[in-house]
């Protein structure tokens, strides 16, 4: 057995084993729990960086487990999975730090961190999945491991949100399962190869394959919150802030978007999809979602709900970029937005959590003058918000630039139009917040001031948003450097031969 093969299970186990130990630990052993969490996260990052380096230099990471004929579990490290895995593991470290600060003193922490670790395991599993069945396995497990996190507060409201989340997610999973089985009966078991299936199937099963494509997209679209399937996401805001950050930036929504990328690039392959002619449908749904999410975000007063609708809108940039699969620039824009959106959105959620946890602020109307009380938090928030709007030199600008270029190259003016309108709407719903925070006057006392110490808030709550905000600017500023996300996405696109 060679090390390449065992690296992938090791990556999964590096958070799975701490998770299991944390479950077994009694509630009051918080120091040991913290150590375990952080060690696991750091070990995972190191292992994933080893994998990234290996992939760059052409090593082949793959491990298979055959269950029954035709059902095979396959973990496979390719550049695309490395992108998602790296993003998840880095953000996970930060979220863990944040969560430790956030949940200090609240009950049931061992459960929370146990499921938290299982959840990262499953997300990395989605990244490393090498065929549809493995993807399905981790996709369903993701629902199961995030559910306890969503209902962590244990209130009736959170239960309702959890129930809706389950219904949406499992219905999506069921559709996905059906589509996977149907696809396998037509084209047989296939791995994610980067080329898709043989075009000869299109001659014989064109309609069926097109229908299956739609079903697959519906299946992953539930988690990616494509428009008619987005209902669970705003409700899931009742969860604690680290969980929201995780759902939006890393795990659930991204898993859906990542699924769309996998289906388009690996399962079907660009050429087949162009032949089938179903991509305009995906582009249309993505565009509608972008506009709808932005418009709904405008109407929200609750900060987290506004951010949630913003997520719905922003994630569809990824789908939009992928749906223009014949334009490499658009694909680059979509893929790189997977990373960039994660960085920006996690910053915003960290900041929202800080406001709620420190001053009890949940509504935008309560935010007047908050920047004077919490300058660092609001600075990070501003960076994230400006990134969302797409102001250079943040990473948001890079994504939109490439998407626009791709649209132009294809001669699709409507893409540019949508980007412009959506940026305008983004500005409409983010700038008022910034103006209120920086230039508004504090009206009365804060709703529920919970913390008064040396810094503006607890140290562990402050560090993560500042780090992510720094990355948002840095990754945008040095986008052309050798090791930026953009460079890696270019490497991916070269590998797919677009």
């Amino acid at each position: 057995m060679n090390w390449e093969q065992w690296l992938l299970p090791a990556i999964l186990l590096s958070s799975f084993i701490p998770g299991i130990i944390i479950f077994a630990l009694p509630e009051e052993r918080h120091r040991l729990r913290t150590v375990l969490n952080l060690c696991g996260s750091i070990l995972k990052i190191v292992l994933i960086l080893v994998m990234d380096t290996g992939i760059y230099f052409g090593y082949n990471f793959e491990i298979r487990l055959s269950l029954i004929p035709g059902v095979e579990l396959l973990l496979n490290g390719d550049p695309l999975s490395a992108l998602f895995a790296t993003l998840s593991s880095v953000l996970w470290l930060l979220t863990t730090v944040y969560a430790i600060g956030y949940l200090e003193g609240s009950p049931n922490r061992s459960h929370f961190f146990g499921y938290f670790s299982l959840c990262v395991t499953v997300t990395i599993g989605i990244a490393l999945a090498g065929n549809l069945i493995t993807f399905l396995l981790f996709y369903e497990l993701l629902t199961l491991t995030t559910y306890p996190l969503i209902i962590h507060r244990g209130t009736e409201k959170s239960l309702r949100a959890g129930r809706n989340y389950l219904i949406y997610a499992f219905s999506g999973g069921a559709v996905f399962l059906f589509a996977v089985v149907a696809l396998q009966t037509i084209i047989g078991p296939t791995d994610f190869t980067g080329a898709g299936f043989s075009p000869s199937f299109i001659d014989t099963h064109a309609t069926a394959l097109a229908l299956i494509f739609i079903l697959l997209i519906i299946g992953v679209g539930v988690k990616a919150a494509l428009v008619p399937l987005h209902g669970w996401l705003p409700q899931a805001m009742v969860a604690p802030a680290p969980v929201s950050a995780l759902l939006h930036a890393v795990a659930v929504v991204k898993a859906g978007a990542f699924g769309i990328i996998r289906i388009v690039l690996d399962v079907y392959g660009p050429q087949n999809l162009l032949l089938l002619g179903v991509l305009p449908l995906l582009a249309a749904v993505a565009s509608i979602t972008i506009l709808y999410g932005s418009i709904r975000a405008l109407q929200q007063d609750d900060l987290k709900r506004r951010l949630a609708f913003s997520t719905i809108s922003q994630v569809s940039y990824i789908a939009l970029g992928i749906s223009l699969v014949d334009q490499p620039l658009a694909v680059i824009g979509g893929l790189v937005h997977l990373v960039h959106q994660g960085l920006m959105k996690i910053t915003l959620f960290f900041c929202a959590g800080n406001l709620a946890e420190t001053l009890g602020i949940h509504r935008i109307s309560e935010m007047d003058g908050v920047a004077r009380r919490m300058p660092f938090t609001m600075a990070a928030f501003s960076v994230g918000a400006l990134g969302m709007i797409g102001i250079p030199p943040t990473v948001g600008f890079v994504s939109k630039w490439y998407l626009g270029l791709g649209g132009l190259a294809a001669g699709n003016w409507w893409v540019v139009l949508i980007l412009a309108v959506s940026s305008l709407l983004n500005a409409c719903y983010f700038l008022p917040i910034l103006i209120r925070a920086w230039f508004g006057k504090q009206q009365g006392p804060w709703p529920d001031e919970l913390y008064s110490g040396r810094f503006e808030t607890r140290f562990m709550l402050l560090i993560p948003p500042l780090v992510t905000a720094f990355i948002v600017i840095a990754a945008g500023a040095v986008a052309n450097a050798q090791i930026s996300p953009l460079a890696w996405v270019r490497f991916i696109v070269r590998k797919y031969g677009l």
Binding site: L67, I68, P69, I151, T155, E156, A174, A182
Partner: protein, 506 residues
């Protein structure tokens, strides 16, 4: 021939004789009954493991009782499906034995009426051991009349066990259960008479080659099937199952739901797909499939509407049994391995998951003193291990990967789509979603943190009550990952397989 050598088929009797002797001793002796039962359960597991090993080495075997060859003598047969069912029974049986010990000790120590509980425990062991012997006998037997006797052993032991709790509701349910079993057995016996009248043979191997398509044999098959369906509780005939399973003591519910219904189903399946293969028409298969589909949906809807945890779990059994019958129309008769693998995975997965669920329900009942679903708030904090077990077992019931239930559902979906009978696939998927609803309806209750919450001071549950549930749940979950093992056992000596997978097994 030396009966004790490695290749001797005589080893086959050990899973029958060991629990039988244990049952007699448990009744005869007053003390150390648990030790005897535990020893028998462990020995049974070892014996079954040995049989599996033997099967893998030497292929299927026949053991002629008393040395008399068929058609006159009775034959036992060990082959892939039989050994897998034995394994299922042995593993679940060991878990039940341990759990029952914890259950009775807890009740004797913590509740009033200790004498009554001691009495229940005193009769539980012999009944359970003899039931185990009967089940093992059923899975191994190759004689159509001997199968009737094993069915009766199971029926009487199961009905007595079901009445053990002494509550009026359970006794009424048990009385009905006994009558239904008896009716089923009698119908089966009438079928046997018809069969014997037209063929003059009782041995299944010979029957397989002598079956000619005549009205007598068809009537025999119909009668036997109706009798077995009644015992398996397929939907229009399921009325007796929920009250019986829900009102019994928790270890008994585990036995009834996890094992007993599988016995009659196994026999039914064997008759349809090995013995009377030529008589089976597509319309008959579709009829069974339709009943199965109705069972899935009806059982799941009823499970969603229940107010008590154990009743919910019992209705889920009705629903899950439907999947076994959906396999009927999806079977292409020439590829028996495919059908068997579907049924075996569904049955194994369900046995493990359902025993875990009933064990959890029992633990919750002991902890709270009731099992009303709406009052289950906050159980997670006081019973973390059972709640975890409940979640994992629920995953298996929903058929999510990587559980054994998933493998079963995957096979069902694949064969329904390859044979272009997509409507079954829709039923299967809907069934899983409904299962999700009823599983999580309870699960979410466990997670509620009540407002006036404080850790209850009631005595902690014994680990014997918690760990068997978790272990069974984990087995049901990871059986899917080890799916190639059951496949290998199933395929041993099955010639059809070499044609299906020419490249050899994974």
């Amino acid at each position: 021939m030396n009966p004790f050598q490695l290749a001797s088929p005589t080893w086959m009797i050990s899973p029958i004789i060991l629990p039988l002797i244990a049952g007699l001793l448990c009744f005869l002796l007053n003390r150390r009954t648990f030790a005897i039962a535990l020893a028998a359960a462990v020995a049974n597991l070892l014996a079954v493991c040995f049989l599996t090993y033997q099967l893998l080495l030497f292929g299927p075997m026949r053991c002629h009782m008393g040395g008399w060859q068929p058609p006159l003598g009775i034959t036992l047969r060990s082959d892939g499906p039989a050994v897998l069912m034995l394994l299922m029974t042995a593993v679940t049986g060991l878990a039940i034995t341990v759990y029952a010990r914890g259950y009775f000790s807890h009740r004797i120590l913590n509740l009033r009426q200790a004498t009554q509980h001691q009495e229940q425990q005193r009769y539980f062991w012999p009944l359970w051991m003899l039931l185990l012997a009967g089940l093992n006998g059923l899975f191994l037997s190759n004689d159509i009349f001997n199968l009737y006797v094993t069915l009766e052993i199971i029926a009487i032991a199961a009905a007595s066990l079901a009445a053990l709790s002494g509550k009026p509701a359970s006794q009424l349910a048990s009385f009905r259960y006994l009558l239904v079993s008896l009716l089923g057995s009698l119908t089966y016996l009438l079928g046997v008479v018809f069969l014997y009248r037209s063929c003059g043979i009782l041995d299944l191997d010979i029957l397989q080659h002598h079956v000619a398509n005549g009205p007598g044999i068809r009537a025999a098959l119909a009668l036997m099937s109706i009798g077995l369906l009644l015992k398996t509780a397929l939907v229009p005939l399921h009325f007796w199952l929920p009250p019986t399973h829900a009102n019994a003591l928790a270890p008994v519910s585990v036995i009834l739901s996890g094992l007993v219904v599988k016995g009659s189903f196994y026999l039914l399946f064997r008759l349809w797909f090995e013995i009377f293969t030529q008589l089976i028409t597509p319309s008959a298969l579709n009829f069974m499939g339709t009943l199965g589909a109705v069972a899935i949906l009806w059982g799941a809807v009823q499970a969603m509407r229940q107010h008590r945890l154990k009743l919910m779990v019992a209705y889920s059994t009705v629903s899950q049994l439907g999947y076994l019958f959906i396999a009927f129309p999806l079977s292409r008769i020439d590829e028996s391995i495919q059908v068997w693998s579907i049924v075996i995975f569904m049955a194994l997965g369900h046995a493990c998951a359902k025993s875990a669920l009933f064990m959890v329900a029992g633990a919750v009942f002991l902890h709270l003193g009731h099992d009303r679903i709406k009052d289950l708030n906050g159980v997670r904090a006081s019973l973390p291990i059972p709640v975890f077990a409940y979640g994992i077992a629920g995953v298996s019931l929903m058929g999510l990967p990587p559980s054994a239930g998933f493998i079963g559902k995957w096979l069902l979906l694949t064969s329904s789509l390859t044979s272009s009978q997509w409507w079954w696939a829709l039923v299967i998927i809907t069934g899983s979603l409904l299962a999700m609803i009823y599983v999580f309806r309870v699960m979410s209750r466990f997670f509620v943190i009540p407002e006036d919450y404080s850790v209850t001071t009631s005595a902690p549950l014994s680990p014997l009550l918690e760990w068997p549930a978790l272990i069974m749940a984990l087995i049901s979950l990871f059986l899917g990952l080890a799916a190639s093992w059951p496949m290998k056992i199933l395929a041993t000596g099955n010639t059809a397989l070499t044609q299906v997978f020419p490249g050899g097994l994974p």
